[in-house]
Symmetry: C2
Subunit: 337 residues, 2 copies
Amino acid sequence: MAQSDTITREPPAPAAIDPKVLRKALGAFATGVTIVTTTGADGGDVGLTANSFSSVSLSPPMVLWSLAKTSSNIEAFRSARHFAVHILAADQESLSGRFATKGIDKFAGLEVERGHDRIPMLHDCTARFECRTTFQYEGGDHVIFVGEVLDFTHSERSPLIFHGGRYGVVIRKEAGRPECPLADSSLSPNDLIFHISRAFFQIRREAMEERRRRGWTEHEYAALSVLGREDGKTVAEIAALSSFPGRQVTPEVIAGLAERGLVTVSGPIGGGSEVRLTASGRQSIIEIIAIIKASEADALKDFDFSEVQTLIQLLRRLSGGSQPGWPPLPQQDQRSG
Amino acid sequence: MAQSDTITREPPAPAAIDPKVLRKALGAFATGVTIVTTTGADGGDVGLTANSFSSVSLSPPMVLWSLAKTSSNIEAFRSARHFAVHILAADQESLSGRFATKGIDKFAGLEVERGHDRIPMLHDCTARFECRTTFQYEGGDHVIFVGEVLDFTHSERSPLIFHGGRYGVVIRKEAGRPECPLADSSLSPNDLIFHISRAFFQIRREAMEERRRRGWTEHEYAALSVLGREDGKTVAEIAALSSFPGRQVTPEVIAGLAERGLVTVSGPIGGGSEVRLTASGRQSIIEIIAIIKASEADALKDFDFSEVQTLIQLLRRLSGGSQPGWPPLPQQDQRSG
């Protein structure tokens, strides 16, 4: 670190900075992801993924990006009179990967529109800028290309982000959040579980009202849910898969479902009896699941794709990664042992 | 839009581009947020918020940013031999706002470290680059400043994002997600409610085991929860506040709690009787809530601040904004009407 009292110092020799560490530090600046395209001297389409884009000027409209002097595409862009910059949307990670890959036909199968000098321009990006190369500036091991924007398109799609060497999505910050008093005798909006519980009850409310109208207990619903996921389980398996303190799928619960024609049971009911949904039972659970899915879709109506994905991803991490079990988790939960 | 068959065209007159619309399109490129600082000709500290930062070169190490020619700070940076770029963390929105505000003493109360030529450098940013001004390039209504990085610091803090004119945070995409077969007879990891339910059961599991050990039914727990949030409610109010299909806080439930010394009831038990926690009842609910909060903290141990805030924000939106009610929602829920 610089010393605070030093007024004049010689700069350190360039060797003092490790490019790998510097690259990591520079990666702390999050960016969008762009694909820059042009036409080579041979008339072929050229394009690459870049995150060095920056807007420069509004009047005249100008943007810049930079390209390594060692890039195989450097001559194409140095001699090109025009280029196009495409800002990628959150779901275009694979397109980003394609244009970052050497030795493949990056444009294979892609529909392109032709701009000035027939430069290839892609569809369906968040924004696109068609530029005339205005300046090429020296930038160490890179060339800085400054272009005047001749034409552009723009949509409201959520952008793809690059940060710390990985892709991400952006979530807007809320303008402000009401303060809640801290309390130890209740949960409050400061607690995550407050919001998880609310969402849980809200999305399931209509389906649970329908369950009650059909005269199913919570235990019966739990048993039917397990069979809806995978039919043909034993009574003991169903009990284990729906285990949660206060919820008990006993042989009597299964017997009650069998009496109402919702399941069939192999032989006299015991822990080892196999249970299967009848056609009526399957139809019933499909109807309940459809209500839950409709409530979920309703709750998510103002969410965009990347917000839903982010929410699922965070909840997945919260519940401990990718284990495929349906809640409630099996009783051999580590945290209660 | 450009027409696909046109090979040579005159560029449109600059007047054809509306700067407001262009600015919006350029805002589609998400960026981090930086504060750039230097020392003015008078020796005073100068700094401003900028998102035009871009890394340029690794060897020699170089970065760039651009500043409007009309900026009151342009002469300071034009004549400065050094500048520092600070990349802001997710929780530094107010610092960003301060350095974007004109006419205030931006450095008031801030601790600064002194770099080359005594330029002011801030603490606690995600990354910081101390630079020697190498090039100043023409960029329309802006000047592009290219600096050689002399020294830098770097941390793993989550960055502040600017996109579409608003602040945000970045959420990393998962490397890949197992595909789930679509099914209409069960919920799967494709469904958000699958993950909400898992998190709900997991975070509450230990507390619900403790509830069972204490011999409380779910209905009794619901009643105690309501009183833990706000003591002194009538039996009817408690029933309404804990209403959910299958959950019933009846006068008998309250009578059971009173028998065990957990609550006191005013007069003979009826809908209008006021119910209050006893010291023992209050202590009991505090203990259960503490278990839930500990489980939540455990589940969140690998989350950083902005991830937790993002999760809460998304769940809050999911449940319909800022209404303060505790789940379950009152029975006059629109969606069941």
